[in-house]
């Protein structure tokens, strides 16, 4: 199990470094690139949790498709996006935000560690073969969770239509405006 622990800590460091990079890097373009590193490291953690299909989907859908969308918009908007923090470098809002986030971490950790779930300190239940494989996910999606699956597809359709409506060129929007 030593290899598993080493892999966990390497991936955890990658995940945390990516997350901190997203928040701390000044250039939004570098933030997006940092998030890609974060997502790839997270996929390794998903593999450690025996979720092969989710790990593959994470790489293909997230780190591939969605991040390319981000990179396009970041390149399009470019220098118009501000790079600094709210209320200046050492503003009260920024310091308060960091304190609130630290408090949030403490509260969540206390809630989890104090939940007296016995299984938290184990490696989890015994798994039947095929756990997390594409076959099992497909069986679950099309049998047990058919309605959420269809709702998700409808949600994606609505989102695509909304994006077209939001981003299309409209007369009177460019010139004049508010």
């Amino acid at each position: 199990m030593l290899f598993e622990q080493i892999l966990f800590f390497v991936a955890a460091i990658g995940v945390l470094a990516g997350a901190l990079g997203v928040v701390l890097l000044r250039n939004p373009f570098y933030s997006v690139l940092s998030l890609i590193g974060h997502l790839v490291s997270l996929a390794i953690l998903f593999l450690l949790l025996r979720s092969e299909f989710l790990a593959a989907a994470q790489i293909v859908v997230y780190a591939g498709a969605i991040m390319v969308l981000y990179l396009f918009v970041t390149a399009y908007v470019g220098g118009a996006a501000p790079t600094s923090w709210r209320g200046g470098e050492a503003g009260a809002v920024g310091q308060l935000g960091v304190i609130m986030a630290g408090a949030l971490f403490v509260v969540i950790s206390l809630a989890v560690l104090g939940s007296s779930l016995d299984a938290l300190d184990t490696r989890g239940a015994e798994l039947e073969p095929g756990f997390g494989s594409p076959g099992e996910i497909g069986q679950l999606l099309l049998k047990k969770f058919l309605i959420p699956f269809e709702a998700a597809s409808f949600l994606l359709l609505v989102a695509a239509v909304c994006a077209v409506v939001l981003a299309r060129r409209r007369r009177g929007l460019e010139e004049g405006g508010v």
């Binding site: 598993e4 955890a12 995940v15 945390l16 997350a19 997203v22 928040v23 939004p28 998030l35 997502l39 997270l42 949790l49 025996r50 979720s51 299909f53 989710l54 989907a57 997230y62 969605i66 969308l69 981000y70 918009v73 399009y76 908007v77 118009a80 996006a81 501000p82 600094s84 923090w85 709210r86 209320g87 308060l96 935000g97 960091v98 630290g102 949030l104 971490f105 969540i108 950790s109 989890v112 300190d121 184990t122 490696r123 239940a125 756990f131 996910i137 999606l141 047990k144 959420p148 998700a152 989102a159 695509a160 909304c162 994006a163 939001l166 981003a167 060129r169 929007l173 405006g177 508010v178």
Partner: protein, 99 residues
């Protein structure tokens, strides 16, 4: 690895994402930070799915990824629309809806 390690790591990622949402000014980076928070939730969901040995949590995580994709599309569409209107892409200046 024990499940608790994954859950605490996901809490840490969630807190980092929340800090980003509260402190950064660019809506692009705020969207990225909400992605961080959604990913933290996914990690916790998969850890608990592993703990119970059932695949239901993985379906939940898949649906969360779908919702994240929709959120990205709408958010980026809004940012492009704001940019087209020549307004400042800055959450401190986009305060007309503030109550």
């Amino acid at each position: 690895m024990d499940v608790v390690w994954f859950v605490v790591l996901s809490a840490l990622i969630f807190a980092i994402g929340a800090a980003g949402v509260m402190t950064r000014r660019s809506p692009l980076v705020i969207l990225l930070c909400t992605e961080l928070m959604l990913n933290a939730c996914n990690l916790a969901l998969l850890a608990f799915a592993r703990m119970h040995g059932s695949g239901d949590g993985q379906i939940f995580a898949l649906i969360v990824m779908v919702v994240a994709a929709c959120e990205v599309v709408i958010g980026l569409g809004l940012i492009v629309a704001i940019y087209r209107k020549r307004m400042a892409i800055d959450v401190d200046k986009l305060s007309e809806l503030r109550g």
